[in-house]
Symmetry: C2
DNA sequence: TTCCACTCTGTGAACGTTCACAGATACCCA
DNA sequence: TGGGTATCTGTGAACGTTCACAGAGTGGAA
């Protein structure tokens, strides 16, 4: 009825707790006969180590907490999330560690995260989509707990290491491509200006266009489809003669596409449209979106690796930036 | 340097461990003066209870594990997931419980989940997208751990309680609508036949059409966009004169839409197209999809409630089915 | 033979809680 | 006044591990 403990295994194998513990943790200095007997006893009794008891003495939690910093409603809109989560679960499982998910949408949430970490219930923290100025970042930094971010945290690039795609370079790629296609009046719909994707994709755009990137041709969105629609409407009103648009995300591009269609503009004939991310939606619009592919899997792998390195005691792990790739489809 | 323990709080407040513990757990029989002193001491010392120590003695884990049963690549394709996860996190947080995510894609994964649960590290299990015949279900049932599923588990409806939308009724709604629009030859693209959405949406379709639902007009997909594309192609080849298609998911519908367009069919003029889910993609296609809305938030809430009731000791909690809603847009 | 190093094992203490119990005080009612 | 009840508090034991230490056995070198 009761779950078997290390004592039961020891008794069944005819050894002491200490020896069983040594086998469990792969210590040296265990005779093969003892090891064999213990392994059989573990199988027979169906013994599973109690992590709570272990954590209590080792002061290690055996888990990592992933913190989603978006306000509640927006969570998971970004396809980036799923890849990072999936990768984290898999890599952590390899070490017999588990992943706890928490949301940090408001102050109460943040408090809960801090309490959790303070309680020693996580060996590390993985930040997702943290915005500039998030108080959580400094609080975590003060606790000296291993932390990493998937995508840079604006203003704290040197505090929290990160893995990210080359946001700026990717935006340059797309802008250059639009220029090469002979487009003369290229507009941009950016992301929120407190996120790396928002800021750096605009920088890349400006890098290529130089003085031609006028304020008039720039509108800001918040990554949602709806914001893409309305930003596009504002752009059309202000500059009806634009002949290309670079949206900082595929989702916003799909919104822009609706507006363009409603305004009677043909894509790509009248207006070329470029996206960013190469998320699922890029394939489902008509015409399919020309976009910039983020190496999501690689970014996720690197993010987790950085965190595990930190947990393993590395003093300072450098951030990683991974190149993007232009995917040409039908919209530009 | 070291984290404060309950002893430190007791010392600071001038009481004993026991009294502090009582305050922590909201027991009766604590004087207001003691309570006040302890609360101040907690604030001063920055004390946070150590869950490991607590779990060790209470035999409660303070966490729930959510198990994603899809093979690795498909995880999170379903927008259902995000809502359920988000809701779970929030409701659990209210009780100061946390959510651990695990993947059960292959046998090794399932083993890990079982070990985790067996180790007593979860108070309950929330199953997501579990397919018929998954060995995990019976294994969990044998362990008598509180378990719930978001969406029924085919063949185990009486073993694992669930919350789900009225799959069959929703499919009836859509089919009836297509008939009312005067469509004569209605085809269906189903989901996988080992999932409730696959089976029951087809049943609803057949309920309405009766004998007119011929095998020739039914094709199976696997929820992906690509499978929608190819199923549509097979349908067109076999029955070029069809005038309506009901796809069991919006994502598959968006695939079908591409194929229809490539084949020169106008939607909805030549072929009416209905989806299911009312997921984000339904708004981003052109024309926007007429679809069946699943009350995702409500389903998620009910799923979590059932699990919490079970954890609280309820002997048997009935499953819940929630009605769907027809959303008419442009595709039908 | 003696000593040291290496291998292997068992034991007590500690990790930070909760819980059951017992003791102390205060109050009310007969 | 006495006894019962309700309120409040402290204490020892237990939860299931790991870790440091000590002790025992073996083999080889001096």
């Amino acid at each position: 009825m009761k779950r078997p403990t290390i004592h039961d295994v020891a008794a069944a194998a005819g050894v002491s707790r200490g020896t069983v513990s040594r086998v469990l943790n792969g210590d040296r200095y265990v005779s093969t006969s003892a090891r064999l007997a213990i392994e059989r006893a573990i199988a027979e009794t169906g013994y599973v180590v109690n992590r709570n008891a272990r954590s209590l003495v080792t002061q290690r939690a055996g888990s990592v907490v992933i913190v989603l910093s978006e306000p509640h409603e927006k969570i998971f809109e970004d396809p980036n999330y799923s890849t990072t989560i999936r990768t984290s679960i898999r890599r952590l499982a390899e070490r017999d560690m588990s992943l706890v998910m928490m949301i940090a949408g408001d102050a109460g949430d943040r408090d809960r995260v801090l309490r959790y970490v303070k309680g020693g219930h996580a060996d590390g923290v993985l930040l997702l989509s943290t915005h500039a100025g998030d108080p959580l970042v400094d609080a975590l930094d003060g606790m000296r707990i291993p932390a990493v971010s998937c995508g840079a945290v604006i203003g704290r690039e040197n505090v929290i290491p990160y893995a990210a795609c080359d946001e700026r370079g990717g935006a340059q790629q797309m802008t250059r491509y639009l220029v090469e296609q002979g487009r003369k009046k290229i507009a941009m719909i950016t992301g929120p200006m407190d996120t790396p994707g928002g800021i750096q994709r605009l920088e890349g755009f400006a890098d290529v266009l130089g003085r031609k990137a006028s304020k008039k041709l720039i509108e800001h969105g918040d990554w949602t489809r709806l914001s893409g629609e309305s930003a596009m409407a504002r752009l059309l009103e202000r500059s009806p003669d634009l002949d290309a648009v670079f949206a900082a995300s595929d989702v916003m591009a799909s919104g822009a596409l609706s507006t363009l269609r409603a305004a009677g503009r043909r894509v790509p004939e009248d207006v070329a449209l470029g996206g960013f991310d190469d998320s699922a939606v890029a394939m489902s619009t008509h015409p399919a979106l020309t976009t910039i592919r983020q190496p999501l899997a690689e970014i996720a792998e690197e993010t987790v690796r950085i965190l595990l390195d930190l947990i393993d005691g590395a003093e300072h792990v450098p951030s990683v930036t991974i190149p993007t790739m232009l995917i040409v489809r039908d919209s530009a």
